[in-house]
Symmetry: C2
Subunit: 254 residues, 2 copies
């Protein structure tokens, strides 16, 4: 069966969506059947593929109205399907507050996806709320995008505590797939200091591939395309292609 990877960091604006979209596209372009799930009410990963206000979306799956296979839709890349998000996700925290199984809704829905897709990538919102807990409970591992900034580093300790709690209560096998340095600007001292600190603390769990700050990455979503289809020669596209190869070569080693 396939593997599920959650892209998680409660710190906002660190490159979760940019990583989810371009890694999913990268894996699909390498010929692997891939599903991208947009679990963020902001629906940025959906709009990155030109999908806005989808009539069926992840909320329908979480409340059991439709199976995942009826919500997943094709994208411009044959081997990549997308489960879009929608704004009714915003109220789900209150709606599920009293439900027994509120952390396990996505896990139940994903069982079906594992048979059809080699990789399922889940984009998460910037919080440690019910939606992110669902992604962590349903996934085999998580990828943590990390901006080389002070606030981003501070949040890492809280994320690792949450990880321990999820392992104890919901998903004992949950592993860290890796930490990805994003928006890297090696001319800047703070960026270099944070990178040195992260590598000394996490060792080879930090990807060799670093994603540089590159404006083509932030332009691509306004054209509804992943960067590989928007400007494949750009530094951003080359970095996410290198990340994809690094993740595929690591997966084989497991």
């Amino acid at each position: 069966g396939g593997r599920a990877l959650a892209i998680v960091n409660q710190k906002g604006g660190v490159g979760k969506t940019t990583t989810a979209v371009n890694l999913a596209a990268g894996l699909a372009l390498e010929g692997r059947a891939t599903l991208l799930i947009d679990l963020d009410p902001q629906a940025n990963a959906s709009s990155a593929f030109g999908v806005v206000a989808a009539d069926r979306h992840i909320y329908d799956v979480l409340i059991g109205r439709h199976p995942l296979s009826q919500v997943a839709r094709a994208t411009e890349i044959d081997t990549l399907h997308l489960v879009p998000s929608g704004t009714d996700l915003v109220g789900i925290e209150i709606e599920l507050a009293n439900s027994e199984n509120r952390e396990r809704l996505l896990e139940a829905a994903l069982a079906e996806a594992r048979e059809h897709y080699e990789f399922t990538i889940i984009d998460c919102p910037p919080s440690l709320s019910i939606l992110t807990l669902n992604a962590l409970t349903a996934s085999d591992s998580l990828l943590i995008p990390l901006q080389c900034e002070y606030y981003a580093l501070e949040g890492l300790a809280r994320l690792l505590e949450t990880l321990e709690r999820v392992r104890d209560r919901f998903n004992a096998e949950l592993a860290i797939e890796g930490l990805l340095l994003t928006m890297v600007d090696s001319r800047n001292n703070l960026s270099r200091q944070v990178e040195a600190e992260v590598r000394s603390h996490f060792g080879d769990r930090v990807y060799q591939t670093r994603i540089p700050r590159n404006v083509r990455l932030s332009e691509a979503p306004s054209h509804g395309k992943p960067v590989a289809l928007y400007d494949n020669a750009s530094a951003g596209a080359r970095a996410y292609a290198a990340l994809t190869r690094e993740i595929l070569s690591r997966s084989v080693l497991r």
Copy 2:
């Protein structure tokens, strides 16, 4: 009585905390009694003043354990007090799900602050959850930091819809204080396009002051100081000083 201003945008990483911290410091350095409330479980605005793991924080105020005055603490700037955040805020969404008055807890607590402070600035988390709804219900107006990026622009429509709902149900007087362009890089096409679009749509509700991308702004929190005390000659410090003056001159006009 004093005024309460919420710094709100559900898009992550757009400069909410950087604006809340440096605007609150700016107002206080102009001699105005100011209170900064950190309503984000990430507690970034607290750590910007070197406060970590505070024994009393905003959670105690929301659940009615302590009045605001017993949680507010002094900072390096005489006329600036801080109500720190804490990690038990994370679970508040579920805890409050069934409580009648869940959107009005901060409003009740703030009544006391308005007598002692001329300005109360509230830093919000990157979501439209219960905490942000409390800030919008308790405030007179909101300031929207906006990165000149595609995803940030997309989120604006959702934020304005939420604003309408809050006005209908909880706070009819809630006004937009202004939209602040942050991390502006005028060499970049996308940045210029987004700025032109925002100014044509929102007119003079967009501040004349723009905050440039400036590394001193992201270094200051690692020293536990607002940028005015860390490097007052920097482009970032000058921009937030200009914003402070612009907001004070607008307030008089009201």
